[in-house]
Each structure stands twice: as structure tokens, then as C-alpha cells.
């Protein structure tokens, strides 16, 4: 039990921010990736960072997909994923709460952590994640959905 207790304060911080990100799942996840229009349907402002267009099914080139801004109880959150040759290469938060020192403290830890989780999950070649940590799972699911929408 000691290990768990020691971990908890840290985890709570992660969850606090993870929850802010998971809100976007609702927007991203309700799209099956079978529809060819979904990459654009599920994201308000898909922007390409190369010549490749962000259409579902395309797995070459580099593209960035920006999710909708989601209002969370901690403030607005928006996430962008970058996909290169069909592989997720980066996850960044475009906007996130940073109004006070506490927000910044949380973000300094939580955002890199979320990014690592997303990349780790991909390397395991999994479709989805089961776990009690719903907020953080929610994030991974949202990412999975974003990737599905992007034709991965």
C-alpha cells in the first residue's frame, strides 16, 4: 500500500490535467473512421504541415490534426497530433489552462506525461486501452480516435 500512497499525489496531478484533455473525446470519438470525410468532420481545423492532405486512408506524408477546443472545468483545452508516414510522432497541447502558477505546475508535468503515454500506447500496437484510470484512458481513447479518423 505504501507504493500506492506515495504515488497518489503525483497521480492526482496527472489526472487533473488528463481530465481536461479527455473532454475532447466526445467530439472525436463519435466518428467511425470508415467514412472518408471523417478526418475533416472530426476536427475543426485540420492543418497540413506538408503537401499531404489529411484524408482518411492516407498513410504517407506528414500531417497535423488539431482537435476542437473543449471547455473543461479547468479551462479550455486543445490538442494537436502529428502523424508522419502513418505513425504518430508527436502530441502537443495547443491551448491549456495556464492562468495561475498551479496550472503551470500541473501542466509542466502532466502534458509531457500525456504525450509519453500516447506514444507508448502506439508502440504497443494496441487498438484501445482498459484501465481504471478513466480520465487518462479517455485521453488515449481520444487520441486513438483521432488517429483512426486520420486513417492510421
Amino acid at each position: 500500500m505504501h507504493a500506492l500512497k506515495k504515488n497518489r499525489p503525483l497521480r492526482r496531478i496527472v489526472l487533473a490535467s488528463a481530465a481536461t484533455v479527455s473532454g475532447m473525446v466526445l467530439l472525436l470519438s463519435l466518428k467511425p473512421h470508415t467514412s472518408p470525410t471523417l478526418a475533416t468532420a472530426s476536427t475543426k481545423s485540420p492543418t497540413t504541415s506538408s503537401s499531404s492532405s489529411p484524408t482518411a486512408g492516407s498513410s504517407s506524408g506528414t500531417k497535423s490534426i488539431t482537435g476542437d477546443t473543449v471547455q473543461t472545468r479547468w479551462g479550455p483545452v486543445q490538442v494537436r497530433v502529428t502523424i508522419k508516414s502513418g505513425t504518430l510522432t508527436d502530441v502537443t497541447a495547443v491551448s491549456y489552462p495556464q492562468d495561475n502558477p498551479r496550472d503551470q505546475e500541473i501542466n509542466s508535468y502532466a502534458l509531457p506525461q500525456l504525450r509519453r503515454e500516447a506514444l507508448a500506447a502506439q508502440s504497443a500496437q494496441i487498438d484501445t486501452v482498459s484501465g481504471a484510470t478513466y480520465t487518462s484512458d479517455g485521453y488515449r481513447q481520444s487520441l486513438q480516435s483521432a488517429l483512426d479518423s486520420a486513417g492510421l
Binding site: M1, H2, A3, L4, N7, R8, R11, V14, L15, S22, V25, L26, S29, L30, K31, P32, H33, T34, S35, P36, T37, Q113, R116, E117, A120, A121, A124, Q125, I126, D127, T128, V129, S130, G131, A132, T133, Y134, T135, S136, D137, G138, Q141, S142, Q144, S145, D148
Partner: protein
């Protein structure tokens, strides 16, 4: 329900899939309106206050209460629909509704694979691609971001994976015998079986039982495998789990 559902549907005609998806989502909202114990006006809240009888409620309410009673019998009371004395079928509703949504989507013509993830509990049907089974990562409760295992649906048409644990909401699982937080040596229980309705209940029950009794009980259930992680970072599995690891 304060949770997030994620859908992954493979195959099928896009318009038909989208329509089924809209139905599935509407179904989940309906379930929330009927069963939420956080809503004063939900049928379950009214039922708990004695303002409605089961017969006056929507048919889903009777269906879920019957399933919950079955779960209570099979788990010898470790799964319970009473939370500190009052009616609360929340423990079965999420798994049941996610499974129902998955089956609705799988019924669409041409759909070959469905994955529905309801807040960390997953129902899989079919396969994402002809030569590739669904793969589910099990998050490691002691190493945030890490995976404790990967479960594969290879060789089966239906598979569900549910995890109960303290990583999400702390000590939220109550021992039905004492009415207090379950005294357990576990931090997470992941149960694998064909139907999410059941494995979700079994994960909750086994978590409250603790590693020794929980593992023995899970081992006794047909078509069920499990992975238990203790606070001491020990991992225990049922005998047949290895065949499901991918």
C-alpha cells in the same frame, strides 16, 4: 455517467454506420437519464425513493436489475446493487450499456469489427481487419502510462476486458458486507471474457474480495480469465490468461 465512450467501427456503409452510431449514442444518453443516481429525476432515483415501481419504469430498468441480481448470486453477494443501503445499479450499467452499443453497431450490414470503450471497459466484436485481431492494452496501475499487459482477441469473435481499481477514483469500491471501502490487497483487477456486462461485474466483485479469494473465484468461472495486480506490485493470473496475451 460522467464517463467517456469511444467507438471504433470497421467496415459497413458509412452512412449506415453513422446512423447506427447516432442510435448507440442516443441509447447511452437514455441509459444515463434512466439510471443516473446523480440525477434526482432519473427512474432509478425515483425507484430508490419509492415513487415508482419497477413495473412503472422503462423495460431496461427491469432488465438491468435482473442482470444485477444474477451477478449478485454468481458473486455470492460481492457484487451488489446497494450502495450504503440504497439502490444503485451503477456498477452494472456501464458495462451493460457499452456491450449493448457494441452489438447495435455490429448488426449493421458489412461491419466486420466493433470496439466500444466505456471509460476503460472494452467490448470487442469481430476483428479490425481480416488478418488482425483486436488488441487491448491493460494500463499499469502502478506505472502511469505503462501497460501491464496486452490482451488479444485472436481466435474469438467476442471479447471484453474490464478493469476495476483504485487508480481512477481512489477507494470507491465498497465491501457490501461492511458498507465501508473494501479492504483489499489489490490495486487493479482486469477480467477478460465474452460479455462486458459480466466481466465488468466480476472485476468489481473480485477487487473487493482481495487477491487470494478473488483469483480462486475468477478461476472457477467458465470462459473467464483475469489479471490481478497487488499493491506490492505482484501480478497474478488465472491459468488460461496466457492464451489471451498478445
Amino acid at each position: 455517467m460522467g464517463t467517456v465512450f469511444s467507438f471504433d467501427v470497421r467496415g459497413g456503409e458509412p452512412r449506415a454506420v453513422l446512423q447506427a452510431l447516432a442510435e448507440a449514442v442516443a441509447g447511452l444518453h437514455r441509459v444515463d437519464a434512466l439510471f443516473s443516481t446523480y440525477r434526482e429525476d432519473s427512474e432509478v432515483s425515483q425507484l430508490a425513493r419509492g415513487e415508482l415501481t419497477v413495473a412503472q419504469c422503462a423495460p431496461e430498468v427491469a432488465e438491468v436489475l435482473e442482470l444485477a441480481a444474477e451477478a449478485e448470486r454468481v458473486s455470492d453477494g460481492w457484487f451488489s446493487t446497494r450502495y450504503r443501503g440504497s439502490l444503485d445499479p451503477t456498477g452494472i450499467v456501464k458495462g451493460w450499456s457499452a456491450e449493448r452499443a457494441a452489438r447495435l453497431l455490429a448488426a449493421v450490414d458489412g461491419v466486420c469489427g466493433v470496439s466500444v470503450n466505456g471509460g476503460g471497459d472494452v467490448q470487442l466484436l469481430g476483428a479490425p481487419e481480416p488478418q488482425r485481431p483486436w488488441r487491448v492494452g491493460v494500463s499499469d496501475p502502478l506505472r502511469p502510462g505503462g501497460l501491464a499487459a496486452v490482451i488479444s482477441a485472436a481466435g474469438v469473435d467476442e471479447l471484453s476486458v474490464a478493469t476495476s481499481g483504485t487508480a481512477e477514483r481512489g477507494d470507491h469500491i465498497v465491501d457490501p458486507r461492511t458498507g465501508r471501502s473494501a479492504v483489499t490487497d489489490l490495486v487493479a483487477v482486469t477480467v477478460v471474457g465474452p460479455r462486458l456486462t459480466w466481466v465488468d461485474c466480476w472485476a468489481t466483485a473480485a477487487f473487493a474480495m482481495g487477491s487470494r479469494a478473488g483469483l480462486a473465484w475468477l478461476e472457477s468461472l467458465p470462459d473467464v480469465e483475469a489479471l490481478l495486480i497487488t499493491a506490492g506490485d505482484e501480478v497474478r493470473c488465472t491459468g488460461g490468461l496466457a492464451a489471451r496475451l498478445g
